[in-house]
Symmetry: C2
Subunit: 464 residues, 2 copies
């Protein structure tokens, strides 16, 4: 079938306003936020309004052997949802509704195109929240599901995976299946929900998500502790986790990241000048409690723990500074991008191995005449580095060493960003081939012809 | 190959002490705790000592086309791990070691045959615990992984699934794969760990489990609240969950279950006689906190909440009574079994639907001249009923109605016991055939010939 025939057929199926092609494609729909942009020209960008639309799209793509790339709001960082030349893009931007919020069950059912900001707004007034904050409120729920997004609050609440109770999904043959449901436990067959979470859009088109919500805790405090070394910061972390204080956020920033974060936001944290001079790293701890009395007790206990662990000082931030700092930290990626970082990584290692990893990583960077600046969800062992090395080969060599070292410590290449296209080569090289083979066979069960989000994660064919 | 040749080959592979057959089989290895016993004669019961032994067994079973049934300590309740006539049983009783405990990472690596009691003992002195208590401390970790066991503490800590970070597993072709690892998050490929958790031994032979542990909280209180109806109890539950008190246990017992539990344990809870006369149901709430001050504040807040919700009284139990009550509650199944219950069910429904489910279930039981007595992990919507109805057909009809109603409410047939053989027919009848087909295709990826734990869950062939 000719291109124009394919497009008319799509228009007939979905309506003219749901089909963009050629010049009418919004350039924003052609990339994600990966630092490695690829110039691509898909056949069309489609905007379904319903599950039935998505079924029609899947059938059409299968019938014509077209690549199909599902897409949320394009905030991914690893080329996991970028279009394919000549393929179809399914943008879920019009499937962004809250279908239900249940205050008794702490469950919401939403469409995948809803952004975290829209969800947050919708939950206000219900005393509930979706506690996963991957740091980019414009990110879509569907994207979060498919990358198993994490973020600063995962240390207490867990990552996306732990909050997805059920999915409706369209398979490539156009059928719809529903897995899980509004219950927090089930031992009734294989958990296909958990299989699809983190599958980077390669198994099924998620059309509805059942979320587990949490009660909103009313009292919160943000504590800032400067240390004279990154190692001291990361060494205190396991002690905080063991204390039972259950921090909502446990984040480290090296001094350069903190400077870029506070400068970009025009933020003054009131750290004593003499202290600031000795500081090489900061720990940010957010405590959340049910009562003010508990909050005060917890702050005191945390302060003692930090004092005893070598903190240069302990600051309880005023709430406006605290909010500004957390928001500014969430924009650390944009600062790194603006500063010209060549790569962003988010390896995960066992929490207690973070000091080893950071120390060794800096040595590796030095050997490759490269520069690493970082912060991280250190309670989870999730280390974020911005890597500065313009030479592609040297950068690739350093990245491979960093990934290999993380894997050798029992960790993984990506804690929350996903593999996508950017990390595929290292992922495949560093994984057990048997494990990859099992995953590829599972992929075949869902998508025998390899049309759904091809050329990334497990699929090493070169993209056309 | 003749039987005696098969047995000599197994003896040659594993050593004589690892192979039991005929009269030398321990009868305890031939059943689980399901109320429906099947008389079976496996070819042999094997006790591997290592992953290499398990690989040899898998290769042997594949080579000779023999059914292979993995088995923990046989405490399952649904015929999920019972042997097959002429097949091989793999008992993990000798693979019961703790391989490592990491206090900084809150991670333990254990073999699947370890019991929860042995694990609990091993963790003492490390300030850590594995917080999933499915109520039977003689149960094995491997069994817990394969049924995705839950229990009373799941309301706060989650079920087994949320505590399994990684697995080593042997596939039916004898290969070994490792999924996950000692990290709490990863977005690096499909999560095969989560796929195998809850798969009832049908996908792979789990040979090593990496567990997420929690810090031990030092202060605890057990609160008992009698109510004049089950509905009142179940209606207050969503309010407690919303309060942010995060109870470790939130359990309801109807008055008959409470009587059988306290009588069996010779327990006197000190409930006022006038109150006891009006009581039809009890709520047990366990609070756990980091400090005594927080505990006292939480008890007060909980008391006010219960008072306002119609509790006839509120008792904070002395610690010896509290421990005895929780232990006695964990033995409720044995009391029901001793009392001649004909079936045990553990349906799960959305938390707010528990009152509807219980009320309707009692009407259904009445219509079938049957008797339901119950308790449940009501914070999770997990309702446990003992069903008394000696007639097989009537019982089957009632069970199907109960399961269908739970599913219609958005729930599932089993919240934690699994499907096994006992609930297979209802599970297959009430599931979306497309979802079953997907699961069967996944099963084929792992076990193309259907030799691993056959004739249950998805496999409806009649057992030989």
């Amino acid at each position: 079938m000719e291109t124009h025939e394919l497009l008319s057929e799509l228009t007939r199926l979905l309506g003219a306003d749901a089909v963009a092609s050629g010049e009418s494609i919004n350039p924003d729909d052609l990339h994600d936020e990966s630092l490695h942009q690829r110039s691509v020209t898909p056949l069309a960008v489609l905007r379904p309004r319903s599950t039935a639309d998505v079924q029609a799209i899947a059938r059409f793509a299968s019938q014509h052997g077209l690549a199909l790339t599902p897409r949320g709001s394009g905030t991914g960082l690893s080329g996991g949802a970028t279009p394919v030349n000549g393929g179809l893009v399914v943008s879920f931007s019009k499937m962004n509704h809250v279908l239900s919020i249940d205050e008794g069950d702490h469950v919401a059912v939403v469409q995948p195109g809803i952004t975290l900001r829209e969800l947050d707004e919708a939950l206000k007034g219900h005393g509930l929240r979706y506690p996963v904050y991957p740091g980019e409120l414009s990110g879509s729920l569907g994207g979060n599901v498919n990358t198993n997004a994490g973020g600063m609050r995962a240390v207490r609440h867990g990552v996306t995976r732990q909050h997805i109770l059920g999915l409706e999904m369209v398979l490539m043959d156009g059928t719809v299946v529903r897995s899980g449901g509004p219950v927090v436990k089930s031992s009734s067959g294989y958990d296909l929900t958990q299989l699809v979470v983190g599958s980077e859009g390669t198994l099924a088109l998620v059309t509805e998500v059942t979320l587990k919500l949490s009660p909103q805790l009313e009292h919160a405090a943000t504590v800032l502790a400067p240390f004279s070394s990154v190692q001291e910061v990361t060494t205190v972390v396991p002690r905080i986790v063991s204390s039972g204080l259950e921090p909502a956020i446990l984040e480290y920033l090296d001094v350069l990241t903190m400077a870029s974060v506070t400068n970009a936001a025009g933020l003054e944290l009131g750290v004593d000048a003499a202290v600031a001079q000795q500081t090489l790293a900061y720990l940010i701890i957010v405590l959340e409690t049910r009562t003010q009395a508990q909050l005060e007790g917890d702050i005191e206990a945390l302060g003692e723990l930090l004092d005893g662990a070598g903190a240069l000082d302990v600051y309880v931030l005023p709430s406006h500074s605290a909010t500004a700092l957390i928001e500014a930290r969430e924009r650390a990626f944009w600062n790194a991008k603006a500063a010209g970082a060549h790569e962003i990584i988010d390896v995960v290692v066992p929490r207690s191995k973070v000091p080893n990893f950071i120390e060794r990583a800096q040595e590796m960077a030095l050997a490759h005449e490269s520069f690493l600046v970082g912060c991280g969800h250190v309670g989870d062992g999730n280390v974020h580095f911005s890597l500065y090395q313009p030479d592609d080969e040297r950068r690739a060599a350093l990245l491979h060493e960093l990934f290999a070292y993380a894997v050798s410590l029992g960790g993984a290449i990506s804690g929350e960003h996903g593999i996508g296209m950017d990390k595929q080569a290292d992922f495949l090289a560093l994984s057990d081939p048997l494990l990859i083979d099992l995953q590829r066979q599972i992929k075949k069960v869902f998508d025998p012809r390899g049309l759904l989000n091809p050329y990334r994660l497990l699929d090493e064919r070169p993209s056309p």
